[in-house]
């Protein structure tokens, strides 16, 4: 199954219907499907940290939520993750397009992109980088299971090798 549809199917399987996001061209293929599907409510935010707050609020009233962003915006969301998601133990899956990888054309995107997974490690946030559709459904299912069992955010990092961004 194509990667975008796999993500949508996994979100449905885990009854995760509130999606808060900041638009990104590489993951637009997923958020476009979500936007057109009445199962979901897609909230477009002005900033990634805002999306974290919206997702936590939704989870607090009993509706599972996920966040979509690109890694550059991960930098904008850290205080919300560190002082809300982590201390309150909220299982929010964060799907992000990982910049600064092979094929990156913009020097300004490299530092945040290359440091995203080390920062996730510093916070003890589990993260998985996906570069292939092979067994992606099994991996995502397991990531969601961990997310809810651990009641902590998890990050699913997607590179151009997966979503077809221009590499060379």
């Amino acid at each position: 199954m194509p990667w975008a549809e796999t993500i949508v199917d996994t979100l449905k399987k885990w009854d995760t219907s509130l999606i808060a996001y900041v638009p990104d061209i590489s993951i637009d293929r997923v958020t476009s499907i979500i936007d057109a599907d009445p199962f979901f409510h897609l909230v477009s935010c002005t900033r990634e940290e805002e999306a974290i707050g919206v997702a936590v609020g939704s989870y607090a009233v009993g509706r599972n939520a996920a966040v979509f962003m690109q890694s550059s915006g991960f930098g904008n969301s850290i205080n919300g993750i560190a002082s809300l998601c982590l201390p309150a133990r909220t299982p929010i899956p964060i799907f992000m397009n990982l910049r600064g990888q092979v094929g990156e054309f913009n020097i300004a995107q490299v530092a945040m992109g290359r440091n995203t997974t080390p920062i996730l490690d510093l916070f003890g946030i589990a993260h998985y980088t996906i570069e292939s559709e092979d067994r992606m459904d099994t991996l995502l299912d397991g990531v969601m299971k961990l997310c809810h069992a651990h009641r902590n955010p998890v990050a699913i990092c997607m590179t151009p090798m997966l979503h077809g961004g221009k590499i060379a």
């Binding site: 509130l18 808060a20 409510h41 909230v43 477009s44 935010c45 002005t46 900033r47 940290e49 805002e50 974290i52 707050g53 919206v54 997702a55 936590v56 609020g57 939704s58 989870y59 607090a60 009233v61 009993g62 509706r63 939520a65 205080n79 919300g80 560190a82 002082s83 809300l84 201390p87 309150a88 133990r89 909220t90």
Partner: protein, 185 residues
């Protein structure tokens, strides 16, 4: 108008509605005004109070009340734009506006000079807005907000008490799941 008196007024009219408290004295005073399972105290994440309330409002039919602050909302003005885009009828944002960063030494905030948060909300498409300066007008506005479709955006000009109240128990995980259990059992 003291924020604590205004908070007590809000709770008298809140029924079972979720109330999200901004970090610091707003959550502390919410706790002392009347602790309840549907009080969602925040302990950090400055700027996200009304974003949390928005996430609740789009995921429940209950009226949801945000008790935000001018300094915090200035940190995340985009939240007002997102509320204006989503337009949840069940969201009531109350901004305790003391025109200062009260906890960091009382430095004047931008609402002390040129920023008018009610006008910001209006320009973001939130039609039901008002600015109040005393308990009587707050009660009238909040009563309407709880009974008429919103979203509502109420700027309440408040004063800090001379002394802060004791800090509410700092227990983010317990706060979240105590609150959540009123929805999922």
């Amino acid at each position: 108008m003291l924020r604590f008196d205004a908070t007590q007024l809000v709770l008298r009219h809140a029924g079972d509605s979720p109330v999200v408290g901004n970090l610091g004295p707003t959550s502390d005073e919410l706790y002392h005004a009347g602790h309840r399972d549907r009080n969602f105290y925040t302990y950090g994440s400055m700027g996200l109070c009304s974003s949390i309330a928005l996430g609740m409002a789009v995921s429940t039919d209950d009226k949801v009340i945000s008790l935000d602050g001018d300094g915090s909302l200035l940190m995340n003005l985009g939240a007002i734009a997102t509320i204006g885009r989503e337009k949840p009828e069940n969201l009531v944002v109350v901004v305790w506006d003391n025109e200062a960063w009260g906890q960091t030494g009382g430095q004047p905030s931008h609402t002390a000079t040129n920023t008018n948060l009610e006008e910001v909300a209006q320009s973001c498409g939130i039609a039901k807005t008002t600015t109040v300066g005393d308990l009587e007008t707050l009660e009238e506005a909040f009563g309407r907000a709880m009974n008429e479709p919103g979203p509502w955006f109420i700027v309440a000009k408040i004063e800090e008490a001379e002394e802060y109240m004791p800090v509410a128990p700092v227990e983010p995980e317990f706060t979240l799941y105590r609150f959540r259990n009123t929805y999922v059992g």
